[in-house]
Symmetry: C2
Subunit: 204 residues, 2 copies
């Protein structure tokens, strides 16, 4: 019965080839400018072949995003583990989040910035629960909770604060990605300014 397995393996290989091509292309060209036809051309198959492996452009690109955000999740998890001070851990985590977004602007754009037009028609696949983006948020939430528990922060509503904090760092990340030509102050100074304000504003 080695035939089925070999076929399955080849199938998986082409699937990966498609993912690789798509990743390369839309990192280089930006999301909206990559068509299914271009991806197909890159792997030297006909455009319709892709639909035998992914049911839509949205699903194809969602797979890439999950993959990318899994990395962010891993990074945040590691950070959470070896940060004795939860406040410093939170600050570092927020910085990692922002820098991650800036280093993966295409994935970040698709996942968080764009309107979920692009997410339509993916049942379980882009539900917030279970998605890697959501997982990343849960680390933030845990960190804020820990700061409050240790009385480093004043007695804020943990969920509201986490959401507001996420929104704040998302705002900076997305503006830097989308409007790089705005006359920003130095990037590090800007990030520090936001993180300082947020954390000072939460301290006990």
């Amino acid at each position: 019965m080695g035939v089925k397995e070999r076929r399955e393996k080849q199938r998986e290989e082409l699937r990966q080839e498609i993912l690789d091509a798509a990743r390369t292309l839309f990192i280089r060209e930006g999301y909206e400018n990559v068509s299914m036809r271009k991806v197909a051309e890159k792997i030297e198959y006909s455009p319709t072949t892709i639909y035998l492996y992914f049911k839509s452009k949205a699903e194809l690109l969602n797979c890439l995003c999950e993959e990318t955000f899994a990395k962010l999740g891993a990074r945040l998890e590691a950070l959470a583990k070896d940060s004795p001070d939860p406040v410093e851990g939170l600050r570092k985590g927020l910085r990692v989040y922002i820098e991650f977004g800036l280093k993966n602007p295409s994935h970040y754009t698709v996942t968080f910035i764009n309107h979920p037009l692009h997410h339509e028609g993916l049942g379980e696949e882009f539900a917030y629960e279970g998605s890697m983006g959501h997982k990343a948020f849960s680390y933030l939430s845990a960190a804020v909770g820990e700061c409050v528990r240790q009385k480093k922060f004043r007695r804020v509503d943990v969920e509201a604060t986490s959401q507001a904090t996420w929104a704040a760092v998302h705002g900076l990340t997305s503006l830097l990605i989308v409007h790089p030509d705005f006359p920003w102050v130095a990037r590090n100074k800007l990030i520090d300014s936001l993180l300082d304000t947020l954390i000072e504003g939460l301290k006990a």
Copy 2:
């Protein structure tokens, strides 16, 4: 020489008709889902007629955005004038900004959320300097400066702080627009949480 004037007037009328149709449509249907053909159908002209009045879809919609953000600018200006306490003025301004975005999601999306793909090919028209969005930012900047001058805020870098604050409120605004299905806490609570944190974090 009344002929030229009458022609000019009629021309201006159709231009407004196009703008009105486009505004209505893309508020109702969302930006990306409105095609030039749909706008044309609504005004009962051929699609190409629009190009006699606007050189591209981007320009057409940019006109609408400028129009909308002029209103925000006016609101913020009024607010700045009759706010004796600059901290309260700033807080109110930030709230107005967020609520404005939530009330004009399509315009807000196009102007601040979407990648400037949509802004391409507009020379002066969407330069940051002079755009209404930029003007709105300048009110924020002035308010922060005033708070520092009156020693209500600690001695922060005004430009960096303004940019970071803008980023934060933009983040909340855009996330609420783009991901309305996320399990947010109550909207007002969320907004207050962010504004509290920001302003507490800046106070002297």
